[in-house]
């Protein structure tokens, strides 16, 4: 009896779903539901990009007195782009951004992975330790920057700890030394974002099937062999995602760094975002800034398409 009812219900449902009116209703509703997001995306992409492209071939600046639409009067025949190629401050900022990334992302990855392996199985206190270890990534980055600004003062706690270890008073002026300032900034970034690596890698580590690990143990594989032959291959896509996220975010590094050093001393910690910020707000040559921004956007778009394909593949595997 119940089986029969179910069959009828299913038949009805198929009919209902197949009814052209309903399907059209779905298509129309889908269009309407996505419309606000489409408008917002268009609002922030199409028009701004065209405007950016337009301004980037002129000498326009907000101080020039004329509105941005009349920037064509200041047409400078792509001088901004040729200037950019010869702008040593831009290239050294880019290089510095790369250095920060090449130090911070691997450090965060290795520390995060090490922590994640410690948390792979249950032990007393796991939950509370886990929650505390995640805290840095939830601290407002500007506030984290201020924390480390205080820590690295010459009379601050970092030097205090060092002097207790060494036994003689240490008064290193961390943030006024070009090399040490860069190191301090990188320490702050590693402090704040290792938890993100830890969180994502642990999620991946937990997904590694236990029975395979047990089988490998029975076959005589030691911990390191199990790790390299079972765990790492299983976690490959997760590792790629985690690294991609940190590479993208680290490239934008601004808040903590700017609060700690303002890009200084001199230009010693001036990364690409800080450089653009300074040119925007101090030099006010917005035509030039537009050219820099567009150059970066084009490079990043190529990266985005690649990353997106990768993500789609991961989702297929997961599904």
């Amino acid at each position: 009896m119940s089986a029969v009812t179910a069959t009828i219900a299913e038949g009805e449902m198929d009919a209902a779903l197949a009814k052209p009116t309903l399907r059209d209703e779905g298509a129309r509703l889908g269009f309407r539901l996505t419309l606000p997001a489409q408008i917002l995306v268009l609002f922030i992409s199409a028009f701004p990009l065209l405007m950016q492209l337009y301004i980037s071939v002129t000498d326009w600046s907000p101080l020039s007195g004329a509105g941005w639409w009349s920037a064509w009067e200041m047409w400078n025949s792509f001088a901004n782009y040729t200037d950019l190629a010869a702008d040593t401050r831009f290239w050294s900022a880019l290089e510095r951004t790369a250095i920060v990334m090449l130090v911070c992302v691997p450090a965060e990855f290795l520390l995060g992975l090490a922590l994640a392996t410690l948390f792979a199985d249950d032990f007393p206190g796991k939950r509370i330790f886990y929650s505390i270890l995640l805290m840095p990534m939830m601290v407002v980055p500007a506030v984290a920057g201020y924390m480390f600004f205080m820590l690295f003062q010459s009379g601050g706690p970092v030097n205090d700890i060092l002097s207790r270890i060494i036994g003689t008073p240490v008064t290193i002026a961390w943030l006024s030394d070009p090399t040490l300032a860069l190191i301090a900034v990188m320490i702050a970034d590693i402090w704040q974002w290792t938890p993100l690596m830890f969180l994502i890698l642990l999620a991946g580590l937990v997904g590694v099937p236990e029975d395979q690990m047990k089988a490998a143990t029975l076959l005589g594989a030691n911990a390191w062999q199990r790790f390299t032959t079972i765990v790492l291959p299983k976690m490959k896509t997760i590792i790629i995602i985690a690294l991609a996220i940190r590479v993208i975010e680290n490239f934008k590094i601004f808040d903590t760094l700017y609060i700690m050093t303002g890009g200084g001393p001199g230009v010693a910690t001036e990364t690409i975002s800080v450089y653009i910020y300074k040119v925007t707000t101090q030099d006010l040559i917005w035509g030039y800034v537009a050219a820099i921004a567009l150059a970066i956007l084009i490079v990043l778009s190529i990266v985005a398409v690649y990353a997106m394909k990768r993500m789609a593949k991961v989702r297929e595997v997961a599904a």
């Binding site: 309903l22 779905g26 269009f31 701004p48 301004i55 410690l118 407002v140 500007a142 994502i200 910020y277």
Partner: protein, 286 residues
């Protein structure tokens, strides 16, 4: 798997070291927030790890109730920046969540707006610094500069990718039987969405909203560029809290930093379960 005792000792030692590194910067700020001015920049032997004479004067100072024995009085209190941070983050979250949830449902159920997937990832990828020139010009044109609603609008757009991707994976995971049954009962699809799906998704919606709120609340760069005086947010106000006359107002800034840091940490712990999903655009679930 059974672990050996040396391993357990190593594990606890390593975790305790990590906890210490994690907590020292946070605790230093907490301690600083309760230190009287005399202890702010004490160095060497006088350096105090925990306030000797704990005081609330730093908090009273940023709210304008006490001058904290400083020569300078604040020209304005922290009250308005807090209101500004709250208004812009709340309304920014509202914009991102309503546009994102609707679009996620449209894509998840009706396959509408396929282009949004890539467009929104790209939106997240770009450094805000690289698109701010046109935004600053547009916002000036719209008279949105230095307003909380101008900030809310850009926050809503910047965090739209997270709202969209989070909600899309939640909708994808949701069993469709109930929706289909309601359709058979003769409900319109819009009614199914608003009366059945959304109420069922209350918990995921709340998690996604908290996640987006944390991101909006954490912004510094955008507010730095788009607000100048009237509606500066907490981080911008905090950075401006120093004067050439008195130098760094350590305690006052730490008090303000504490006020800014507490809400996202609590919310983050509350939605711990969904953090992985949120941070990886739904590519990973926990």
């Amino acid at each position: 798997m059974k672990r050996s005792i040396p391993f357990e000792i190593f594990r606890y030692a390593a975790i305790l070291a990590a906890l210490a590194v994690t907590l020292v910067p946070i605790l230093w700020m907490v301690s600083m927030a309760f230190k009287p001015i005399a202890e702010w920049s004490a160095t060497g032997a006088d350096l105090t790890w925990w306030p000797k004479n704990p005081t609330l004067s730093n908090f009273q100072f940023v709210f304008g109730e006490s001058t904290n024995s400083l020569i300078v009085a604040l020209d304005r209190t922290a009250l308005k920046p807090i209101v500004s941070s709250l208004l812009s983050a709340v309304f920014g979250t509202a914009i991102a969540m309503s546009a994102g949830t609707a679009a996620a449902y449209g894509l998840s159920r009706f396959g509408a707006g396929q282009n949004l997937q890539l467009a929104l990832i790209q939106l997240r990828l770009f450094p805000p610094m690289a698109v701010m020139i046109p935004v600053m010009i547009m916002w000036a044109f719209l008279n949105f500069n230095d307003t909380w609603w101008g900030l809310a609008l850009i926050y809503g757009i910047v965090t739209l990718p997270f709202a969209f991707w989070l909600m899309k994976t939640f909708f994808d995971d949701m069993p469709r039987e109930i929706e289909e049954a309601a359709l058979v009962e003769g409900c319109s699809r819009l009614r199914v969405f608003t009366r059945i799906t959304l109420p069922m998704m209350r918990a995921p919606l709340a998690s996604a909203a908290l996640f987006v709120f944390i991101l909006n609340w954490s912004d510094y760069l955008i507010a730095l560029l788009l607000t100048t005086r009237e509606w500066v947010t907490i981080p911008v106000y905090m950075a401006s809290l120093s004067s050439s006359m008195t130098g760094q107002l350590y305690g006052a800034k730490a008090a303000l930093g504490l006020i800014a840091a507490v809400p996202p940490v609590i919310m983050g712990i509350a939605i711990q379960r969904h953090l992985v999903r949120g941070l990886t655009f739904g590519a990973l679930k926990q």
